[in-house]
Amino acid sequence: MKQNVAQKLIEQHLVSGTMEPGNEIGLSIDQTLTQDATGTMVMLELEAMGLDQAKTEVSAQYVDHNLIQEDFRNADDHLFLRSAARRFGIHYSRLVMVSVTRYICND
């Protein structure tokens, strides 16, 4: 069957279900990104699951949302995220950037 780009990407990552609109499909995930506003909960969830090491090809944690340090909370979150990234095998971006863009811009 002649395929468009979206169909090719889905077929190459399909682990369950059929590619008919509306059906639930399972997709294998090669890469992940998290940012600091949502990442702390993700890292706490990984801790609760007892994960040893990220199973993805590459995962990255960015710090670009909660940049205002009017008290200790955001700064503490960033230190926590760095330690969690090191624990779980995730790349950590030092205080910079708009996560989605960094992702494609940088190596």
Binding site: Q3, A6, K8, M19, G22, L27, V42, H65, V100, C105
Partner: protein
Amino acid sequence: MQRLAKPGKTLLGSDSHTCANGCMGMLAIGAGGIDVAMAIAGEPYYVKMPQIMGVKLTGDLPDWVSAKDVILEMLRRHDVKGGVGKIIEYYGPGLKHLSAMDRHVIANMGAELGATATVFPSDKVVKQFLKQQGREDEWTELTPDQGATYDIHEEIDLSSLEPLIAKPSSPGNVVPVSELKGEPIYQSYIGSSANPGYRDFAIAADIVKGKTIAEGLSFDINPTSRQLLTQLVDNGHIASLLAAGARMHQAGCNGCIGMGQAPATGRNSLRTTPRNFPGRSGTKEDSVFLCSPETAAASALTGEITDPRTLDMKYPTVNEPKSDHTDGLLEAPPKPSGASVELEKGPNITSIPNFSPIENHFELPVLLKMGDNISTDEILAGGSRVLPFRSNIQKISTFTFEIIDEAYYERAMKARDDGGHMVVGGVNYGQGSSREHAALAPRYLGLKVVLVKDFARIHLQNLINFGILPLRFAHTSDYEKIDQGTVLSFENVHEAIQRSNRFDVKIKDSDETITVEHDLTDRHIDIVLAGGIINWMKNKSNLTS
């Protein structure tokens, strides 16, 4: 150094603008935190197979019209729900005129169309971008087959577009800039994930170079990254912006997510950002317009909304830097494993408590009976009073349902050690924000069952993920049989939910029963019975290790 975005790969991110990476020939999807945690742990991501909308691009963009106007045209045509349940794929001869960063602008705001993802092919333009990054060897071609078809067809002639602008307070409220000509503005804002490229800042700098912005105007520059900022400094663009009267801010999301640069009361703010929902700027009654960098810069010079085509100047040509700085901003994790790394938890960061699996027989008091359309904001408020406790479940749970009933928290804490409780609601329960804490916080307080007329989709998933049994009234009239304080008896729940999507529940101290129903899949049932997805994942890891 590690190399990240790669054509042909899938990317799941806990940021709704993760979809921007579709510009690289990737399937990039924004999702909830727990979905991303599961992906990091190696689990698949489950989603309904979308329809594929093919958007054929022809022609080339006229001067003063750029990628932002392309996505604003899509929003003008399809509005903020037009992409729901769809992947939007761009193809056609017009593509060769759009750089990888132009495509990023378009893919980024696929989120505003509500699309599951936006996909561009991986072609020579992507190859050129990777070459610029010193990563040409990572390029693989990914293009549609000759004769490939789409579920839905759309076409845009780029040469027919004009500068567009989204009026307050929705990205779908799009009109030509010329229609708003002369409307006074207070702020012009350049930056964010929706216009993140070198050219987006350089073109604004070239437009204002050697001139001065209008008096009384706040011209705010928010660089995308330190890398980009360095390039803009190297090429003199920051000097052009500052000399014209711009204010420089640190690299980051900043005002786009309401972190600073909130506009003055009742004054118009023009932004190159992706969203202008009410109050997002940090000013309650705000008036935010979304536009291209060309329109924002032109308007900064005049102090009023200005079609950039009417400026008395030649359209500047931006030359992209030949090579990108690779300055080690990404920190690689230790090899082979960081297992010994201690998690650094400040006083506001606490581990997620262990939740026990749901019992087979139990009785639950109804601690809250609610009406229709209860939003996740009412279940657990957002805002600066509550959000700082996002990593502290014990503390954030004290705010649960406070908008509806301030005494709920105390009642729930009392019932917690006696086996927990349930709540009852009407239709569209859990609408609004996707925040997981709206399930996690009441779960911590002992919420085991939510019984409603029907659920909003994302909150339903969050309840399942945190081990709360989501049930509906089979007969909506049964809603009337239950009051706050009513106790329901659940018998043989494990067997009942696996055997059928309907079962009966007794009202204690009466002869009455009510019929409840669910449409949980086998995977959902396993997750709920395990006490949530974290337990489910732990059990799975134990089985395989």
